[in-house]
Symmetry: C2
Subunit: 195 residues, 2 copies
DNA sequence: ACCTGAACACCGTTCAAGT
DNA sequence: ACCTGAACACCGTTCAAGT
């Protein structure tokens, strides 16, 4: 608020004539950002998957230009029109693709934040990693974590000149696994067990 | 910090003799909380799945008693011993179960925060929901979101006296889908395409 | 070794007053 | 209709001083 006000060359309180509070401002920013999202329709019943992938890819492409987007999306608590619109679009693609409402529901949960084009970070730092911090905790010894070390070594061997994980690969891998499973469950006419 | 200090009947600055800063304090809390986590070993090579599920279930059981846990875990940036220990345990179960380092790596990413026993919230509020907020945004009209409405209606029909989603069901569903896929990829000797 | 007091550099937000 | 000034109720953290 204060920083934004300064950037606008105005006193902080001036903002409150235009937004209710900070949450409202962030909600509004998301609305504007999502307004131009392409919403590719599925051409035919069996083309749901391509449309889902394209829609999520469009969402994912927003992130590089807006490093704050992920954190803001994670903290949104209000379902505003553009947010609902994106969910509605994906949902409708599944339904039109022959998924039951039940299965569609669970798949949306399974996709989770990946519908917003990002996935949780897990391994961003190697064991015994960088972390320039004067903390109370002792530096971990890589030898104590042979499994993680094996994974890290393997990853490094596959991509010698990379600094971290290939986030795009992990994202696509996860999406593929989830949509493969979706397709399988759809064909098996899966449905929730009775409560 | 200030609240904790008051609770301890001490001045805020007294805390800084015991922890480096707020992050260090939270890291320490997580260390203590995870210290007693059971780490079930897999009895045999093909029992990896039961051990993974049990390990994640144990993690998940911590949450009800500690509502703050999820938010704190999400913001951790340092890989402390107990955090690495949990990752190492899951990783070692996959490796011992015959998964390649490569596939194990991708599966850990696919599991994401579910290794910490929680999953992202998506539908916590219904369209046109509660939200007592004096925001700038207009109230969404449920008629604009027929797909979401269909899902919500179906969910309500299945669990008439429930107020929200069955988070436990969603969690177990997601875990099942992921581990089914894992098993399938393992058997197919899946490995990353060359870079 | 541990705690204190005063201060710094921030937040988001209210209220009454200005134009 | 929009902006301002002064204030409130908070944060995490530093530094020098106390015991």
């Amino acid at each position: 608020m204060r920083q934004l006000a300064e950037r606008l060359g105005v006193v902080p309180m001036a903002l409150y004539k235009h937004v209710a509070d900070k949450e409202d401002l962030l909600d509004g920013i998301i609305e504007i950002l999502l307004a131009d999202l392409p919403r590719p329709a599925a051409g035919a019943r069996r083309e749901w998957r391509g449309a889902v992938v394209a829609s999520i890819a469009a969402m994912r492409e927003l992130h590089p230009a807006h490093p704050w987007l992920r954190r803001v999306l994670e903290t949104r608590t209000l379902r505003t029109p553009a947010v609902l619109g994106h969910m509605e679009h994906l949902t409708s693609l599944f339904l039109a693709g022959g998924f039951s409402a039940d299965l569609t529901h669970h798949l949306m949960h399974l996709l989770g934040n990946r519908i917003w084009g990002f996935s949780p970070e897990l391994f961003n730092e190697a064991p015994g990693g960088t972390a320039p911090r004067r903390s109370t905790a002792a530096l971990p010894d890589p030898g104590d974590y042979p499994g993680i070390l094996a994974i890290a070594t393997d990853a490094r061997a596959r991509r010698p000149d990379a600094t971290g994980c290939d986030e795009d690969f992990e994202f696509d891998f996860a999406l593929d696994v989830i949509l493969d499973a979706a397709e399988r469950l759809r064909r098996a006419r899966w449905s929730s067990p009775p409560a």
